[in-house]
Subunit: 189 residues, 2 copies
């Protein structure tokens, strides 16, 4: 590598309180309307959407080249709320390079990390501050907020991993978490 | 990938207070005697070593396969102290695959992240809780504690990166941080 092609180091500041990443971060904001077809109770979804189109979660991504050897990182803030009895969740994705891992570390709040393989194996991890979960290669992953405050976590993944959201839309995610008697309950399809 | 070869997800719990990583973590403990030849003031080093052989830092590494696609992670706890006027630091390393990045996020205390390229470019970042530093491909990296409590940070790097400590021993690290009038001062060789 020629010395003048080497990227310079930099830093960001991460807030555990609100998930903000001070520059340079790219904000991705997902509203209820961005998750069409993903919640279990379609009637509740349609009613909620007719009423309002709230932001379900926000992602603050630290920008580096999306290339082999680099590491992408972000904070994700999932707001508290439900569609019917199902907690707000992220779209979820496989990596395009499926043998790429990811690490999620909870900074604030209460949530779940849901994972599945192509063959339908499932795994869920309850997240609270200090819990750092390892998403091994080949597992898709979705997160949700089952608490009453923002659920915030910090993620790191390889720069060349890529996001495959389509597989999650095409094939229903086999794990769902509903509120039952005030408690989150994980259900396997 | 055959489904029965896919690794299962897991989690650890990270303490920001003392850096402990509850199982499964591998503890690496570095004493003063492990850093022979690295401090500026050799007389102060020899005097300190004759007196005692304290632990300068501890690393709690989350164990996953050291292979492409996986992500290694650890906490590092550097204890407060100096050799002469120079703050306790880590050995420092390049990656064996030099185009592999790393991310360090400060959990507690005050420190510095020092970086250099093979051609001698240097960069330093002052670390405090919430600061997340990006070590781009091709930069070696060393950290130090310039505060009065443990300096704790969380690191993530690609599974296939590898550690090259030898280059740092053979060629003096061009950045050093000394206490002057009670303040840390970064000096470039």
């Amino acid at each position: 590598m020629k010395e003048n092609k080497i990227m310079d180091p930099f830093y960001v500041e991460i807030s555990c309180e609100n998930g903000n990443v001070s520059p340079p971060a790219r904000l991705i904001s997902r509203k209820l309307s961005d998750l069409v077809g993903l919640f279990y109770d379609q009637d509740a979804y349609n009613r909620a959407l007719a009423d309002d189109n709230p932001v379900l979660y926000e992602v603050y991504e630290v920008r580096v080249p999306e290339e082999e050897g680099h590491l992408l990182s972000c904070t994700t803030v999932i707001y508290p709320g439900k569609v019917g009895k199902e907690y707000y969740f992220t779209k979820g994705h496989f990596h395009v390079l499926e043998n790429r891992a990811e690490i999620y570390t909870c900074l604030r709040g209460q949530g779940y990390l849901l994972m599945t393989t192509r063959a339908g194996k499932t795994h869920s991890i309850a997240m609270r501050p200090g819990i750092s979960a390892y998403i091994p290669p080949y597992w898709s992953h979705r997160t949700l907020n089952c608490g009453e405050e923002p659920f915030i976590f910090y993620g790191v993944w390889p720069g060349d991993a890529g996001h495959d959201y389509e597989s999650i839309v095409e094939q229903e995610f086999p794990l769902r978490v509903f509120e039952e008697n005030g408690q989150p309950v994980v259900k396997i399809k």
